[in-house]
């Protein structure tokens, strides 16, 4: 069986728009909001989310990016990777509400690493989690606050989020 697409470009864009509205609603406005994407595809989704937020309420889409390579718990079992740029907007994360953005929520280990990475940078008022796809199979007590699409999967399947900036196309595919 070959890869099949679960979300198309329009589905992704609708999901992001809905998440943007949910973020504004739960934050009761735009004050002290900071969108931080986890490299690589999370950072791109964060950029898009920021652009949508800016359209809804100008000035609300303050976006940064976070590299979690150094904080991974499987660092010793994988080939060494080149870390990416962590970009935190001026003013830092102290006392702001940080919305972490990633493409797929799976075991939860990436998010744990991201929380560790954040605590090295400062002390946010609150941290929320937005993901495009939640595929289940959590290994840690972590859940997402904003979910684009819940996709129940088997462990053998592989979910891949593709974005135009890197893969030339916007879609979510599942590979058996």
């Amino acid at each position: 069986m070959t890869a099949r697409a679960l979300l198309q470009e329009s589905d992704i864009s609708r999901a992001l728009t809905r998440i943007a509205h949910e973020i504004l609603e739960s934050n009761r406005g735009t004050s002290n909001l900071l969108i931080i994407g986890i490299h690589t595809r999370g950072a791109i989704l964060a950029q898009r989310l920021g652009a949508i937020l800016d359209k809804i309420e100008p000035g609300s889409g303050v976006v940064g990016s976070l590299d979690i390579t150094m904080h991974r718990d499987d660092l010793a079992n994988q080939p060494a990777r080149t870390p990416r740029r962590t970009e935190i907007p001026a003013g830092g994360i102290d006392d702001r509400t940080v919305v972490l953005v990633d493409d797929v929520l799976f075991s939860g280990r990436t998010i744990r690493a991201a929380l560790d990475a954040l605590s090295d940078i400062g002390r946010p008022k609150a941290v929320r989690l937005a993901v495009l796809v939640d595929r289940g199979h959590r290994e840690l007590p972590i859940r997402a606050d904003f979910v684009g699409k819940n996709l129940p999967t088997s462990l053998a399947e592989r979910i891949q989020v593709k974005v135009t900036e890197i893969d030339g196309v916007d879609e979510v595919v599942v590979e058996p």
Partner: protein, 317 residues
């Protein structure tokens, strides 16, 4: 790459990868908690058979910023003074659980000997061996040049087309040798400048130009001049008549510094002999990168240790 023994066997891609990693590492120092957990549980031994201030301290700080445990070992006051061999010392340290050995030794090739004879399981980082190589110094020099030239957009860039003059005691300088290979790999045109006694035999085999006139070199407007220390501890017989004459012909005097292009970087690996190879005001001028080089050294060494020690397959070429 399991060890970092020299820059001669590094290709352009690998060098850029190390420099890019160093670029990210340099951000860590400015954080409220300047520490990364990447090498937690690893032990790094600094095995120094020669004196050093900045290299040893720099490696120590770099390792600590990556949360590794550091053991400092200097030959003075150890069993080395009782006649213990390099092999025995290294094996003793490895038996205590060292994951990496950062070694400085007065014999050229010492790091390679340690790495390739199967004496120890640990990974070896050459921190200077005799007059052979000092790879992390060359990496930090390249990193410093790249940052000054490209600013915040350095990531991914090489140094194609730049011209760098390496001036002075090339013969005894491991820094010069490492820089020749590394800068050339990055696309730099390197010119060696110095008295004939300080230019090594067989220079034809190096991918460099050679000049015996510092003033002509300055007038040709290089992008950086790298002054080398006159290594009095390695100089046995007379290579130049006296230090005043050396300073007059080969030193970066105030006068020569003033004639350099405004953008030309003044570099020195340290420690400096102020007044001999470099004048005090040249060393402290705005185009001088000397203190920056020291600060960048930490980022570069963090990158090297991270790429060597993290990951199952080690750094791949």
């Amino acid at each position: 790459m399991i060890h970092l023994l020299g820059t001669k066997d590094l290709d352009k891609q690998t060098v850029i990868r190390i420099l890019d990693t160093a670029e990210e590492m340099s951000q860590v120092a400015s954080r409220s908690v300047p520490r990364l957990p990447a090498l937690r549980g690893k032990t790094i031994v600094n095995l120094f058979y020669e004196d050093s201030t900045r290299t040893r301290t720099s490696f120590e700080i770099a390792a600590k910023m990556l949360s590794a445990d550091v053991v400092n070992f200097s030959a003075k006051g150890s069993s080395v003074s009782k006649g213990e061999s390099l092999k025995d010392t290294a094996q003793t340290l490895a038996a205590m659980g060292a994951d990496a050995i950062v070694m400085r030794h007065s014999a050229s090739g010492a790091a390679q000997t340690l790495a390739e004879n199967g004496w120890v399981d640990a990974q070896v980082v050459n921190a200077g061996d005799g007059t052979h190589e000092h790879p992390t110094q060359a990496l930090l020099d390249a990193f410093t040049i790249r940052r000054r030239v490209f600013g915040p957009n350095s990531t991914g860039k090489a140094l194609d087309g730049l011209r760098v003059a390496i001036v002075g005691d090339v013969l005894h300088s491991r820094v010069a040798r490492s820089n020749i290979w590394l800068l050339t790999a990055l696309g730099v045109r390197v010119t060696l400048v110095g008295p004939a006694t300080f230019i090594p035999n067989g220079i034809a085999g190096f991918p460099v130009d050679c000049s015996f006139n510092f003033d002509e070199m300055i007038d040709s407007e290089p992008d950086a001049v790298m002054m080398l220390r006159v290594q009095s501890e390695r100089i046995e017989s007379s290579f130049f008549p006296n230090s005043r004459e050396y300073a007059r012909h080969w030193g970066l005097s105030d006068d020569r510094a003033a004639r350099l292009p405004k953008s030309c970087l003044i570099m020195h690996p340290g420690p400096m002999n102020r007044g001999l190879e470099i004048s005090s005001s040249a060393a402290d001028s705005v185009t001088s990168t000397i203190r920056e080089q020291v600060a960048n050294g930490i980022s570069v060494r963090m990158a090297v240790l991270f790429l060597l020690l993290s990951g199952a397959q080690r750094i791949s070429q």
